[in-house]
């Protein structure tokens, strides 16, 4: 099992389009993927869970994966968050 801490920097956080993107990306991997926020655990492959989690800009999350492709999964999801879901933030 590996995990990584990320901070949501994009405007809408894990809502709307970014939430779908995140879940779609997570669903590509075989590993179990969990988001930990304020010590609560959320299934990263469930759009309903991710939306109801209500993570906004500035929130700190931990992405945790365990399974055969855990490293790849964590890296891809971290990149998605760091690149602000292509919302066009950086100059």
């Amino acid at each position: 099992m590996i995990n990584v801490d990320v901070v949501l920097k994009n405007e809408s956080g894990l809502h709307a389009r970014p939430a779908s993107q995140f879940v779609q990306e997570a669903s590509k991997y075989k590993s179990d993927i969990t988001i930990v926020k304020d010590q609560n655990r959320y299934n990263a492959k469930s759009i309903i869970t991710i939306l109801s989690m209500g993570a906004g800009k500035g929130d700190r999350l931990m992405i945790e994966a365990s399974g055969e492709d855990e490293k790849k999964a964590v890296e891809a999801l971290q990149a998605l968050v760091d690149n602000c879901f292509d919302e066009g933030v950086a100059l």
């Binding site: 469930s46 939306l51 933030v89």
Partner: protein, 568 residues
């Protein structure tokens, strides 16, 4: 029967009634949980196949925005949490798949419906729609499918969901009547997009309509006539044909420039209130958006829209207009438009009170949130920002200063925005019109708001019936002001548009062309007719006429000059 006219036009024809059967779920203990799980998996699979087909059809026929709804549906069907909970219920509580599915989805629907975010509430509707579909596949309930209608029909339904409308063969639907819904419900929007006459919210009475009945619907007035007499059919047939003739003629102007006989081009733009209105703009070949009234984003809700909600709305309009100009008017609230969540002092003269830019300058946080959302959206198209109700140069400068501050903030945060945003102002207060020579040096464009400009110029409350005759758009004072504003704008090399009612008034269009107005913004349905009118004008001649009009003493004299133009 009377409902709400949701999409204009007349349809006469045979009905096709679609009523959703109420699927009754019998509560019973089950013995073989594994069998129930297999049923669940089958129903989910079947539902997914159906949605994939609908998705494809929707993307082809209506567009990607519509198709996104179904992508969300697919994700819900694939949701492992929801699936897990249903499975647990079946195994743990030994209930049937139907019962488990309904209970789990109810929890989620409740959760999402109670969120204060519009986007989330819409997701509740998605879960409902998906659950219905899976239940239908589970029970094998026989529903009337809109996929297999024959002939040309008028659809009668309690309400139409996105899945319903995506399935139906739109070439066979000539009209829509629904029991529920309003002007902005899904069926109404779809009907307008496809230009099918529709009456919605017609109420329980439509239960009397059976498949195969003859009905007339008038989508302008919202009337439905069941089994009409021969004479009525004749009358409405004539009306319908006249409409179609005109429509056909106007359609031939789609894709053409708006250009006078002597080769002067003007821009024909549209007034919109919501991102959905862009459909009508594109359909009617609007060359841009001359007035996006952002106050609708703030109305009919309990809290201010967040920056994100605004950003999404502005971005969607800009993207869909694909580089064509989009003039966004900053919040114009106050006067007759109030927000339930913003306490404003009661005023003796609300139209002379704290409204529009005055309110924004007094509540800078509200203003800044909107400007941030606009700047962030600016990279997705050709945005122009316009300030309403400016009455002094000081106000304009202050508004621009705040905009500059917001720009600086975004820059510091590393957020991108366009550097080419034109900044303009409404000319709707006589003081602004009189000082237009000076204002023109400080903005990139003017847009004349004639409704307020007239009301303030002649000092007539446009809502007061006793003095309605004094509210006259042919008043020479108004026309003089307009001419002045256009000339002063042109002297400084900026463009001048108009977004009030009279920009689309066939009688006044010629003289506005003569005065040199650069942009006309109106409701989308007036665009093609205006293009047709302008294509028959000769600007050179009208320049003289507009001079004549300025010299008129009375509105009556103005009308005489206008009539001498329109005779042709």
């Amino acid at each position: 029967m009377i409902g709400i006219g949701a999409s204009p036009g007349i349809a006469i024809g045979t009905t096709f009634v679609k009523r959703n059967p109420d699927i009754e779920i019998k509560k019973k203990k089950i013995i073989h949980a594994d069998e129930e799980i297999i049923r669940l998996k089958d129903a989910l699979l079947k539902s997914k196949e159906e949605i994939r087909l609908i998705l494809k059809k929707a993307a082809d026929e209506i567009g990607n925005e519509e198709a996104k709804v179904f992508e969300a549906h697919l994700m819900i069907l694939d949701d492992p949490e929801m699936y897990g909970q249903i499975e647990n219920k079946i195994r743990g509580a030994k209930v049937s798949t139907e019962e488990a599915l309904e209970e789990v989805s109810k929890t989620y629907i409740g959760l999402f419906e109670n969120m204060d975010n519009l986007y989330m509430r819409e997701r509740a509707a998605d879960i409902k729609d998906v659950t219905k579909r899976v239940l239908r596949n589970l029970t094998g309930a026989d529903t009337v499918s809109l996929a297999d209608i024959k002939g040309q029909v008028i659809i009668v339904a309690d309400e139409l969901t996105p899945s319903d409308t995506a399935q139906m063969d739109k070439t066979r639907v000539i009209g829509i009547i629904t029991e529920l819904g309003g002007k902005t419900s899904h069926s109404s929007i779809m009907a307008r997009t496809l230009e099918i006459p529709a009456v919605v919210g017609a109420g329980k009475e439509i239960e009397h309509i059976k498949s195969g009945d003859t009905v007339i619907i008038d989508g302008d007035k919202g009337t439905v006539i069941l089994n009409p007499e021969e004479a009525l059919i004749k009358k409405y047939t004539a009306k319908k044909e006249a409409c179609q003739q005109l429509k056909k003629k106007l359609k031939s102007f789609i894709g053409k420039d708006t250009i006078t006989k002597d080769g002067i081009k003007v821009e024909l733009a549209a007034n919109i209130g919501t991102p959905e209105d862009v459909d009508g703009v594109l359909k009617n070949d609007g060359e841009g958006i001359g007035l996006y009234r952002t106050e609708f984003l703030y109305m009919d809700r309990d809290t201010f829209p967040t920056e994100e909600e605004q950003f999404i709305a502005y971005k969607s309009v800009l993207e869909r207009m694909g580089g064509k100009p989009v003039v966004v008017r900053t919040l114009d609230i106050g006067g007759d438009k109030i927000l339930p969540y913003l306490a404003l002092p009661e005023e003796m003269n609300p139209f002379l009170g704290l409204r529009a830019i005055r309110l924004c300058l007094n509540n800078k946080e509200i203003f800044k949130t909107q400007l941030r959302a606009l700047l962030r959206a600016s990279i997705y198209g050709n945005l122009k920002i316009m300030f309403p109700m400016i009455s002094s140069v000081e106000e304009l400068r202050e508004a621009k200063k705040i905009l500059e501050k917001v720009r600086q903030e975004l820059k510091n945060e590393g957020i991108r925005y366009s550097f080419k945003i034109e900044i303009g102002m409404m000319i709707e207060v006589p003081a602004a019109a009189i000082l237009s020579e000076i204002f023109a040096k400080e903005v990139d464009f003017f847009s004349i708001g004639t409704n307020d400009l007239l009301q303030y110029t002649v000092a007539v409350d446009r809502g007061n019936k006793e003095i309605a005759n004094l509210y006259n758009p042919f008043h020479p004072a108004l026309l003089r002001l307009i001419k002045n504003v256009i000339e002063n704008g042109h002297k400084e090399g900026i463009w001048v548009g108009m977004c009030g009612e009279i920009a689309g008034d066939p009688r006044l269009i010629p003289v506005l062309v003569g005065m040199g107005l650069d942009e006309f913004s109106m409701s989308p349905i007036s665009i093609l007719n205006t293009r047709f009118i302008i294509s028959n004008l000769i600007k050179k001649e009208l320049e003289k006429k507009s001079q004549e009009i300025i010299n008129c003493s009375t509105a009556e004299e103005v009308c005489e000059v206008l009539d001498s133009i329109c005779v042709k």
